[in-house]
């Protein structure tokens, strides 16, 4: 155990945890956040995705000690149910979910790509999303939602 300071969705948390603990476990078990989820636990599906310093990263394999002093944003940190972020609104408008368990991976990976490269081509989009899974296969709506957000953002 060691004291850890973590800034998540704009709030600073001081915790006493094993520094090797994956960030995901701290976010869900200690901070009770519901956005990032345990999908595969081996960084292959995307369900645990959070944004750290603008980059979409997989929190299930990232030791919490390595993200101290950095800003962590989870899916619930983007917007609220009353005021969703524009990309969340695009997903709401497209009805782009079934079970919805994969959404952190889908929304945050797309957001981080488009924040960095607002004019990302279709190819770049495919590349960015090629390690993100949705097992309900809501692909049609999700990709439409991402395009909708891209157009709105432009």
């Amino acid at each position: 155990m060691a004291p850890i300071s973590l800034k998540v969705n704009g709030q600073v948390h001081r915790l006493d945890v094993d520094p090797e603990t994956p960030l995901l476990y701290v976010l869900s078990d200690e901070l009770q956040l519901r956005g990032p989820k345990f999908g595969c636990g081996i960084a292959q599906c995307g369900a645990c995705t959070v944004i750290i310093s603008g980059r979409a990263v997989r929190s299930c394999v990232m030791p919490v000690s390595t993200v101290q002093e950095q800003e962590v944003t989870t899916l619930e940190g983007l917007g609220t149910s009353d005021k969703p972020h524009a990309i969340q609104q695009a997903f709401i408008d497209e009805g782009a979910a079934q079970c919805g368990f994969c959404l952190s991976g889908v929304i945050l990976t797309a957001k981080s790509l488009l924040d960095e490269n607002p004019k990302a081509t279709e190819e770049q989009m495919h590349e960015a999303m090629s390690n993100v899974l949705c097992r309900c296969f809501t692909h049609m709506r999700m990709m439409r939602a991402i395009k909708r957000y891209q157009e709105k953002r432009a």
């Binding site: 155990m1 945890v17 094993d18 090797e20 994956p22 476990y25 869900s28 078990d29 009770q32 956040l33 519901r34 990032p36 989820k37 345990f38 999908g39 595969c40 636990g41 081996i42 292959q44 599906c45 369900a47 989870t74 619930e76 940190g77 983007l78 917007g79 609220t80 149910s81 969703p84 969340q88 997903f91 709401i92 009805g95 979910a97 079934q98 079970c99 919805g100 368990f101 994969c102 959404l103 929304i107 989009m125 495919h126 590349e127 960015a128 999303m129 090629s130 390690n131 993100v132 899974l133 949705c134 097992r135 309900c136 296969f137 809501t138 692909h139 049609m140 709506r141 999700m142 990709m143």
Partner: protein, 766 residues
């Protein structure tokens, strides 16, 4: 955010006092057709209206259902149903789903049976209709006006000549104390105001903003964390467990061993994960596995439990006299449910009672399983459904619920168990591997005269149901036997045609003792099925056996069409007699601008990119939904890669409850079907499963080139409602296979159509 739910709290907060908890919990058939999806009598009596719904004094309605939502929109659409039948607004209905302490026992939410069960004239729909009629009757009395002069809007009954009374005033907080009236009149679809509309899923905003509560998010006071240690090889058993190997791990509470079940419990999840990784277990090796390379031959040689589904008894003679006879063998691998979220459950097992928060499709059967595993009386076990990751059938939701119960009982604390993807990939209840042999005789005029089909499906275990906890891994490890195959010869079919697995092709008459329940016109017919013992656990995976059988039937139909140089659409229509099948085939072909010509197309190029189209259709489970799908694809003949460009589907599920929700299901079903057709396959070596993660089990990612999908919805408001969650996926492998054949002339008779298999089929064209 911590929570604790007791029965008393639940009843207090649910705003309705409707259910009495009797000491006895009976499992009795309620409906005539007894099955895993039907409604059973429990302490919640489904014959009583109060078991299904209650009206509060403010007019809000609480409804109780035993069919829960796994992301397919059942929560929203059942809410629409109740609002519609009661003539109240959508927002005034609160639905309570799948909780053994308050909801009726509706068996398992699966098999595309939730809509047929709850939307036709029985169960939830009939309860709501009964309530509306009862309320109208009460209003008539109160207002002194005949019922036929009353109208209802938003839960307020008004007389045409003045006077009004609300539901809340009529019955608020009181029991109806009547039985569900089987003759209560349902509202006509032509009058629908809430049903039939694309109301957005109630979970949508919470999902997108990351606030929806999944079972993974459940936290109860005093909760600790468990992980399991699964046998590394199929059939391995525990020789010894070295508890000292994990004593260095801080926070470790206990190493739990029960027969061959091994798990660890620790204060923190990370500690439990490390303990599970480090725990030294000496496993006694299992019997080994049959070779995957020859598995389909192996399957055919096993002792089997046989069923003859149809037999016109003239098949051998007709095959001998046929002008041409075609034969082909198709095979389909084991596939995984592979939920995006590895399964999770929380259990709190105390000395005299237990509560399990479970993502199971079967709360009452799980209650029975937990009771058997813990030795607690049935009545003292409560199972509460909390949504998990999409499951598509029997993923590890049931097994992880058992894991949590066993671990919690061992430490006398609430335990949350998170399985890993590896845990789940090596031992979930896979969709069955199948071999299907087809044989058809064609007469001089090019019509099919005789169809002979023989299928083999490997099976072990399955849904635990009410009395077989050993049907999933944890139950078996803890000492309960799985259901296995008792070999038995087939007997001649009697009674109604049973085509729940679509083993009977759509093109035969399906006659038993003169009564024909099939959808086609071929008179000489024989369908013999063999169930054989599987080395792996199996269980229903979206469109179980229906998909495998339909792949074989529909691809064989194209091979026959090609032999007689007929257009695959016209040839299908020539052999179909069921109107709803004919209609979906025609609608799909029309929308796809289907060019009438035989397959494969003329002037095939033997190299480079080839394009083609294929069609497949199904009467799901014989009569539970109809679909025809046209696939347009490209085959890269150098790499063997297959790329779908466009799908056109015509879909008929009777009256449509929520068109956008239906489209979402169809789109997902088609792409999931494409992933299963092109890449998904469980693999193994001589001892263990080797498809253990998302690198070795191939699911199509969000980064693929997406096809376009055109959907034609055929609305049939006057028929019974059928299921719609599994119809689309059933026809995808067949339509893609037929399109590959059309493009290249190569028949790929084994799923998945990997580049290697496509290249081998291309090379075999001669």
């Amino acid at each position: 955010m911590k929570r604790e739910i007791s029965r008393r709290d639940f009843i207090k907060t649910s705003g309705a006092l409707v259910v009495s908890f009797s000491a006895s919990s009976l499992v009795e058939p309620f409906a005539i057709a007894q099955g895993p999806f039907d409604t059973h009598k429990s302490h919640v009596d489904p014959e009583k209206l109060d078991s299904w719904l209650a009206v509060a004094s403010d007019g809000t309605v609480t409804a109780y259902t035993g069919k829960c939502d796994f992301g397919q929109g059942m929560y929203t659409v059942q809410t629409q149903l109740v609002a519609e039948e009661l003539c109240v607004s959508f927002s005034s209905v609160k639905l309570i789903q799948c909780d053994t302490s308050v909801t009726p026992d509706q068996g398992t939410t699966s098999g595309s049976q939730s809509t047929p069960t709850n939307f036709n004239s029985r169960n939830l729909a009939q309860a709501a209709a009964t309530a509306r009629e009862t309320l109208i009757g009460m209003a008539a009395q109160k207002l002194g006006v005949p019922a036929d002069q009353l109208t209802i809007e938003n839960g307020v009954v008004s007389a045409k000549r003045g006077g009004r009374v609300s539901y809340g005033e009529l019955v608020g907080e009181r029991h109806f104390e009547i039985k569900v009236n089987s003759s209560a009149k349902r509202r006509s679809p032509s009058d629908w105001k809430v049903l039939g509309k694309s109301i957005p899923s109630t979970d949508r905003v919470a999902l997108m903003t990351g606030t929806f509560e999944f079972v993974h998010n459940i936290q109860v006071p005093g909760m600790v964390h468990g992980r399991v240690v699964r046998p590394p090889e199929i059939g391995a058993t525990v020789a010894s467990v070295d508890e000292k190997s994990v004593q260095h791990i801080p926070g470790l509470i206990k190493v739990v061993v029960r027969k061959n079940f091994v798990g660890v419990v620790a204060e923190k999840q990370w500690q439990a994960a490390q303990a599970a990784k480090d725990l030294k277990v000496d496993w006694k090796r299992g019997p080994g596995l049959p070779s995957q390379k020859d598995f389909y031959d192996y399957v055919r040689k096993q002792p089997s439990r046989d069923s003859m589904l149809v037999n016109s008894k003239d098949v051998d003679g007709k095959l001998k006299s046929a002008t041409q006879v075609l034969k082909a063998t198709y095979s389909h691998p084991y596939q995984a449910h592979g939920s995006i979220g590895s399964s999770c459950a929380v259990a709190d097992v105390q000395a005299d009672h237990a509560t399990v928060w479970s993502p199971t499709q079967s709360v009452y059967p799980t209650q029975h399983g937990v009771s058997a595993l813990t030795g607690l009386p049935l009545d003292s076990v409560r199972v509460i459904f909390v949504r998990g990751s999409g499951c598509y059938g029997l993923n590890a939701a049931d097994t992880v619920s058992f894991d949590a119960a066993l671990l919690s009982q061992a430490v006398h604390k609430p335990v949350r168990v998170q399985l890993t993807r590896h845990d789940e990939f090596i031992s979930e209840n896979y969709g069955s591997a199948c071999v299907i042999e087809q044989q058809a005789g064609i007469n001089a005029s090019g019509t099919i005269d005789v169809w002979d089909c023989e299928t083999w499906a490997a099976s072990l275990g399955g849904r635990p149901g009410y009395d077989k906890p050993g049907n999933v891994l944890t139950g078996m490890l803890a000492g309960f036997d799985p259901e296995t195959i008792t070999p038995r010869a087939a007997v001649e079919p009697t009674g109604e045609l049973r085509n729940g697995n679509n083993a009977v092709p759509s093109y035969v008459m399906g006659c038993i003792s003169g009564k024909c329940g099939g959808t086609g016109s071929v008179q000489s017919e024989r369908v013999l099925t063999h169930a054989v013992k599987s080395p792996f656990f199996t269980g229903p995976l979206r469109s179980p056996l229906r998909l495998q059988n339909t792949f074989a039937h529909e691809c064989f139909m194209d091979e026959i069409s090609a032999r007689v140089k007929a257009d695959p659409v016209a040839y299908r229509l020539q052999h179909l007699k069921e109107t709803r099948m004919i209609d979906v085939v025609k609608a799909a072909a029309r929308t796809a601008n289907w060019e009438a010509r035989p397959s494969p197309k003329d002037g095939l190029a033997r190299t480079a990119i080839a394009t083609g189209r294929g069609i497949a259709c199904v009467a799901y489970e014989g009569d539970n939904g109809y679909a025809a799908l046209v696939a347009e694809i490209e085959v890269d003949q150098a790499s063997g890669g297959v790329q779908a460009k466009r799908f056109v589907i015509a879909h008929d599920c009777g009256p449509i409850s929520n068109p956008d929700g239906l489209r979402n299901q169809i789109e997902g079903g088609i792409l999931q079907g494409m992933s299963r057709a092109l890449g998904e396959e469980i693999t193994w070596d001589d001892r263990k499963v080797t498809s253990i993660d998302w690198r070795s089990y191939h699911s199509l990612s969000l980064g693929i080139q997406l096809p376009t999908i055109d959907i034609v919805l055929i609305d049939r408001p006057t028929t019974e409602a059928t299921g719609a969650g599994e119809t689309a996926i059933t026809v995808v492998a067949a339509a893609i296979g037929n399109a590959i054949f059309d493009a290249t002339g190569a028949c790929v008779r084994e799923v998945p159509f990997t580049p290697d298999r496509v290249k081998a089929a291309l090379a075999a064209r001669g």
